[in-house]
């Protein structure tokens, strides 16, 4: 399909702008500041723009298209009513610098949402500001830093412990926060290896970052013990909330002993993922950490709500204003729909995952043979050994059956990993259809492996040359000089990177 720039024709246009009558034209700008060559934006009439992007959408797969069991991403149904309320002029067209007395509804909504999240996480104070989970992580680590600095312990508390199953954002956040990373191993049951952990926790430890249930979809059976270990040395526990969908109303991070939690609103609380975002990564903390939260805080005086900038110990700001408000509106609407029955959401998510696991574990290897939480990780190692079929092949073949593949090659400790998260919003029929497809593929791996190797079939493109893409790094259209990559040789296959987290 053509790029929009390849459909452009000089002089075409869609936009017509108001020409205020008797408004004097703006004075010429000084030469150095005035634009010399206009940007080569495409020139199309409106109907061609609509057709272009409409056609692009037909080349994309979303939850509205079908089952999307992308592990760790909690791809649940995005209620359309959330889009409707987020588009209410009172929210959509509200300027962030609007006066407090003219934005009471927005402030109340944020305050309510903070309280809901505090209740769900069993913590005391919430900041909605972080733009996504990773920023929540970084913010949480900044809080640790500020907390220890305040107590004069910052100089020697340099280490943050992270599990080897952790999402890549955890170690990356540790580095960006200026901490040293300490890796801890996973034991044969899929819990953190306590013996290994003991050797790594001491007074130099600032804290732990943990996802629980872990990225293996397993709840750490020693969480109380682990919490004790860190608290004994004065460290803090950070909860990566990406998997909160497993435990709402069942086990609360604060009760598990965590001091700082980020919540991925776009996972547990249903945001349309929009092809990669936006998201929201609020953080909830224990009282002792509240003074360090980002400004402004959304505060309440009786019936009135206000933005409180007077937080002398605050780490400052991690993004503009109070956070991605439109995201808050959607998650707020989602939580209102469930109300006190939110526990059913997590129960069904866990039930759906265990049902799929039960149906699949015969055909694919299960590295840790336990009941799972909201997701589970299988390994295609056996298929690879016996038939040369990789997790990638299984993923591509699933497309032929009309499903989005699960996350693959993550977590890293599981070879040929297939990380499957159905969420609570799928029906049993959908789960059965997916299970049937997975089982059929396992059979095909033995009977007609080439079908899998050449999958997917009938998509706009076949498997793409990612190595060539990285080597050539053609990351923008170059107009006249645009290279014809089809004329260039293919690159050798590479080892697979995680796809899905």
């Amino acid at each position: 399909m053509k790029l929009i720039f390849e459909k452009s024709r000089a002089g075409r246009r869609a936009a017509r702008l108001p020409q205020p009558a008797n408004l004097a034209p703006a004075p010429e700008l000084p030469a150095g500041l005035r634009r010399a060559d206009p940007p080569r934006l495409p020139e199309l009439p409106e109907n061609e723009i609509v057709r272009h992007f409409t056609e692009l959408t037909t080349r994309n797969f979303g939850i509205d298209t079908g089952f999307y069991p992308l592990g760790s991403c909690t791809m649940k149904y995005n209620p359309r009513v959330n889009e409707r309320v987020a588009a209410l002029p009172g929210f959509r067209d509200l300027h962030p610098h609007q006066d407090e007395d003219a934005s009471q509804g927005a402030l109340e909504l944020m305050h309510d949402l903070q309280e809901m999240l505090a209740e769900i996480t069993a913590l005391d104070a919430v900041s909605l500001q972080p733009a996504a989970g990773s920023q929540g992580e970084l913010t949480g680590l900044m809080l640790m830093r500020a907390f220890f600095a305040d107590r004069g312990e910052a100089d020697w508390r340099r280490k943050v412990v992270v599990a080897d199953t952790a999402h890549g954002t955890n170690p990356a956040s540790v580095t960006m926060a200026g901490y040293e990373l300490v890796k801890v191993e996973t034991d044969p049951r899929g819990n953190i290896d306590l013996d290994d952990l003991r050797t790594k926790v001491d007074e130099e430890t600032a804290g732990l970052m943990l996802t629980n249930p872990s990225t293996l979809g397993l709840f750490d059976e020693h969480i109380e013990e682990i919490a004790r270990m860190f608290h004994e040395v004065g460290g803090l526990l950070y909860y990566d909330g990406a998997n909160l969908n497993a435990v709402c109303g069942i086990s609360r991070p604060g009760d598990m002993g965590f001091d700082i939690v980020h919540i991925n609103l776009h996972k547990t609380f249903s945001q349309p993922h929009g092809g990669g975002g936006p998201g929201g990564g609020p953080i909830a903390v224990r009282r002792q950490l509240e003074p360090y939260l980002p400004v402004p805080a959304v505060a309440r005086d009786g019936k009135r709500f206000r933005l409180d900038y007077d937080r002398p110990k605050s780490i400052g700001k991690v993004r503009a204003f109070t956070g991605p408000f439109g995201v808050f509106v959607r998650s707020y609407a989602f939580i209102l729909a469930w109300g006190r029955e939110l526990k059913t959401m997590s129960e069904d998510a866990v039930l759906n995952a265990n049902y799929l696991l039960a149906r699949l574990k015969g055909a694919y290897e299960l590295p840790f043979d336990r009941l799972c939480m909201h997701e589970f990780v299988l390994s295609a190692r056996g298929l690879k050994r016996e038939h040369g079929i990789t997790a990638l092949d299984v993923a591509k073949r699933l497309m032929d059956y009309g499903f989005h593949p699960p996350t693959i090659y993550f977590p890293l400790i599981v070879p040929e990993a297939l990380m499957i998260e159905p969420t609570e919003t799928e029906t049993k029929e959908t789960l059965d259809a997916f299970a049937d497809a997975m089982l059929a593929i396992a059979r095909e791996a033995a009977e007609q492996p080439e079908r899998l190797k050449e999958a997917p079939h009938g998509r706009p493109v076949q498997r793409l040359d990612e190595v060539k893409a990285a080597r050539r790094a053609v990351v923008r259209y170059r107009f006249e000089e645009h290279p014809d990559l089809a004329a260039e040789p293919a690159a050798p296959a590479a080892t697979e990177a995680p796809k899905g987290v």
């Binding site: 246009r13 649940k76 067209d93 927005a106 999402h167 092809g275 959401m345 039960a358 997917p456 995680p498």
Partner: protein, 440 residues
């Protein structure tokens, strides 16, 4: 309940297949001690109709742009967004997809992001753009991180005329990055190139804004030159809507261009979600944070698009990654792309000219002193109202007019100053109305 997909009959069958007798049994690995034993205190579940009513009631307690004549800007602007933007973004294939990890099912988003990257490069005159950052503040921190690693230096210089929130965010990130932050004060609303050059000595980068927070045009080429002289990367924070009339940072020697994309295609939405853009010269490609889409071919030689240069990213590089970002602002960036395609080069230029013309007209018409007389401005300018800006705001808003942003919030000695923004949404009549309340 509204979003439940299982019937009790389903649950029974499923539990049987699993081989347990109750849902509770599925949670056997959760230690008793950390179990939650009451219902969450979240109120009764609401029906869709009740949710809409509740949120309409909350929304009704806000005063959105449409309900008053607003001259608020200060980094977020009430530009017109054509109806096609939402019509396309609301299509489920874009709206409900996630990061395009599986390119064969994601060519729509991937190609659109490739087009977005191209549009950002065209606007800024750069070679490479990522697929979006969180907003116009965090991309500044990203730029510092790039500069630190590119130069090995540990100081960053910020123009005081750079959006205060951007400066705050850089300051919040700096300790973790191991960076020291230095400000260069403004002189009558703009930055002095010589002072900047001095401050830039030994710095990793210099960040200035064009047009700056006061709406004034900096001597951007001179500022960039000053930074380059000092061996610091010149980083320009720009308004996409200005780039039809203002020179592209790439054309005056900047290494990196960043900005808040909101004005191009995103609603105000009380401050987010919006998108930050970050573009750079080719040499920084492998230091860029976040997603980048690249062109390639499939096994049949067909052109296609994939996420590329992923060895920069956290899911591969982990603690050595160029950033921890994963979920980004794709949908908002696509909104920007569609809006900018709708404008086209001609529309973007006309839009910039209209905003400028309205601002010039307002300067004359309002009949109040300017804070920085004689400075060339784009769509915003600062006025003195002769008394506490807050008082003027209060009175004006009683007349249904929001006169602008009180600069005293961020700058000493400007308690009587308002930053007035003019977009194409404002009419000459609106300006007359503002003149009236100011003269009252």
């Amino acid at each position: 309940m509204t979003y439940v997909s299982l019937t009790d009959a389903d649950r029974e069958e499923m539990l049987e297949t699993i081989g347990v007798t109750s849902v509770d049994e599925l949670f056997q690995d959760v230690p008793r001690g950390v179990r939650f034993d009451r219902a969450l205190d979240l109120g009764n579940p609401l029906a869709e109709q009740e949710i809409v009513e509740r949120l309409e009631a909350l929304a009704a307690r806000n005063t959105p742009a449409g309900e008053e004549i607003s001259f608020l800007g200060a980094g977020v602007y009430d530009h017109y967004i054509p109806a096609i933007v939402d019509a396309i973004l609301q299509r489920g294939e874009f709206l409900t997809a996630y990061t395009p990890y599986q390119p064969e099912l994601s060519q729509g988003v991937l190609q659109a992001l490739f087009e977005y990257q191209t549009v950002i490069c065209e606007l800024t005159g750069m070679d490479v753009s990522n697929a979006s950052g969180y907003d116009g503040t965090t991309v500044a921190a990203d730029a510092c991180y790039i500069a630190k690693h590119a130069t090995g230096r540990t100081k960053v210089v910020l123009a005081e005329s750079l959006n205060p929130q951007v400066r705050q965010v850089v300051r919040t990130y700096a300790p973790g990055f191991g960076l020291e932050v230095v400000d260069v004060l403004h002189r009558d609303g703009i930055t002095d190139p010589d002072e900047l050059r001095a401050a830039a000595e030994g710095a990793a980068c210099v960040i200035f804004q064009q047009p700056n927070f006061f709406g004034c045009l900096e001597q951007a080429p001179d500022l960039a030159a000053a930074a380059n002289d000092a061996g610091a990367l010149a980083v320009a924070h720009v308004d996409p809507i200005s780039l039809g009339v203002l020179e592209a940072p790439g054309a005056y020697g900047c290494a990196i261009a960043i900005g808040e994309g909101q004005g191009a295609g995103n609603p105000l939405s009380f401050g987010g979600p919006h998108y930050g853009f970050l573009a750079a010269r080719e040499e920084f490609t492998r230091r860029m944070p976040g997603r980048i889409v690249g062109e390639t071919t499939d096994v049949a030689g067909e052109r296609g698009y994939v996420l590329t240069l992923q060895t920069r990213e956290q899911h591969i590089r982990r603690e050595k990654a160029t950033s921890n970002i994963t979920t980004n602002q794709t949908l908002l960036a696509l909104g920007g792309l569609i809006n900018l395609c709708w404008l086209g080069p001609q529309g973007l230029r006309e839009l910039g000219e209209t905003c400028m013309a309205l601002a010039e007209h307002a300067k004359d018409r309002l009949g109040v002193p300017l804070v920085f007389p004689g400075r060339t401005t784009f769509k915003e300018f600062a006025i003195r109202v002769g008394r506490p800006a807050q008082d003027v705001m209060r009175e004006a808003r009683k007349q249904g007019i929001h006169p602008g942003y009180p600069l005293g919030r961020d700058y000493e000695g400007l308690d009587d100053a308002l930053l007035v923004a003019l977009t194409e949404r404002r009419t000459l009549g609106d300006i007359d109305a503002l003149a009236e309340v100011l003269s009252a």
